[in-house]
Symmetry: C2
């Protein structure tokens, strides 16, 4: 089959419940799921864990912790609490990867350097908690078009710099093709991430043009956009990465399609564009 | 007045002819213009030169050369010819700064590394021509959201790497706040650009959210978006940069406004947000 390392992120089949996604992945021969917390919370973490396990599937990652950039005491405390809950959920679900979207600028604030410092501070507070629970805080560099409103981590190199003070089993990074494909320093930083033992997840989807009116929905099915999956996959594989390859697509047209057909297309594109280079 | 270093890029007053922009800038006490080639070509380069000079203004830059990523012989030859003409136009207009938007991926091509190599090759061919004409090819790093369709140079560091093989009076860089504000390595790269004598232009405008349906139009008036002009301006000024500060805004609402009011707002925002840090 060749799908042994393929994982379906539940966002790709946005119209499906968690139970639907578990059944659909099992039908399609996809052995792993990347779960979003809201989808998990629809049934509760215990039941979600049982649903996935009973179907013989595994959880490749939990998405998402983060939003660590608040500058007010109440916001900081709330972020710490929420991330501790997310760590616990990941541990219960049996994944060691909690993907972190670290948050943008507080409303009305333009101090990007300050927001980045606060991320470092919050990580220092959370890392021991995560490590004790057997869960890694997996820092996600987001495309720079989201720097102000989603994540002040904009490059893989910056994510690695933020991870550096912490043990590798406490803070790691994800390589998501959509967010990093443009980076002229990508090959060097993927290589560094591998050498430092920090790659906890490899996520693939394409970058579609034109960027839609809601810029969050520019993610596309592999092969529909402008990303060179061969070269990026070879970079990641070259580090010895042997984990799952998760497909997470935010896209109106994909969401409007029959999810079973989306899974069939996803599996085929994975076989054609990614698997030969793994 | 404090406007001695302020320059109006003609794109900011998109509804104005060149003659209108010259008159408007003179009325507003703005001493310099950044010119787009299409606006120059409406009257011809000789007449454009005379219009600007007769009003007592100067040209801070000509925009734009570039589009160097073609991979077919005809496309390569056409790009070289067009850029040589742009160099001549800049020389005639009396500016030493030809801003280069280097182009994206050829249609259907996803080989970003290859496109970047071709930019380096074309620059090697054009640099001696520009230097002989007394004009610098001013490389513009564009925001990574434009990497595939506008410019495969995505960071200031990458622009400096591409400039490095060439004399400083042949290839330089522009620091445009909109395109680089997100870069976690910005302070180091601006400092490097200054130390290497490569900063030929400083351009300011804001980054507005949400990104509009046409992503090219996300540029905003300083103060309307998420950019920290104080910190970036201090970085640039800290290198000893003593040149013009050009304001280039692509924005439907700005374009729909009375251009004289746009200039008044622009001058005020410049005084409030940029000038104190120069």
């Amino acid at each position: 089959m060749g799908l042994e390392r393929l994982s379906l992120n539940t966002k790709t089949t946005n119209s499906w419940t968690l139970a639907d996604a578990v059944d659909g992945a099992a039908r399609a021969g996809i052995p792993a799921l990347g779960l979003w917390r809201d989808r998990v919370q629809e049934v509760g973490v215990e039941k979600a864990t049982k649903l996935v396990r009973d179907a013989g599937l595994r959880v490749s990652s939990l998405c998402r912790g983060g939003f660590l950039t608040a500058s007010d005491p109440a916001g900081i405390a709330a972020a710490l609490e929420d991330n501790k809950r997310a760590v616990e959920e990941a541990a219960t679900l049996g994944t060691d990867a909690l993907v972190m979207v670290v948050g943008g600028l507080p409303e009305g604030d333009v101090d990007l350097a300050g927001a980045r410092e606060r991320v470092a501070e919050r990580l220092a507070e959370l890392a021991p908690y995560a490590q004790a629970a057997g869960v890694k805080l997996v820092l996600e560099a987001l495309h720079p078009m989201y720097v102000a409103d989603r994540a002040v981590i904009s490059t893989l190199g910056q994510a690695l710099d933020l991870a550096a003070p912490h043990p590798v089993d406490a803070v790691a990074v994800v390589v998501d093709t959509f967010h990093v494909f443009w980076d002229p320093d990508l090959a060097a930083q993927v290589s560094r991430a591998g050498a430092e033992g920090r790659i906890a997840s490899y996520q693939v989807c394409d970058f579609n043009l034109p960027i839609p009116a809601d810029a969050l929905l520019a993610r596309g099915m592999m092969g529909d956009g402008v990303i060179d999956f061969a070269s990026i996959t070879r970079m990641v594989a070259g580090t010895g990465y042997a984990g799952d390859v998760e497909v997470e697509i935010f896209n109106e047209a994909v969401w409007a399609s029959d999810p079973d057909e989306v899974l069939a297309t996803m599996a085929q594109r994975y076989r054609d564009l990614v698997l030969p280079h793994l």
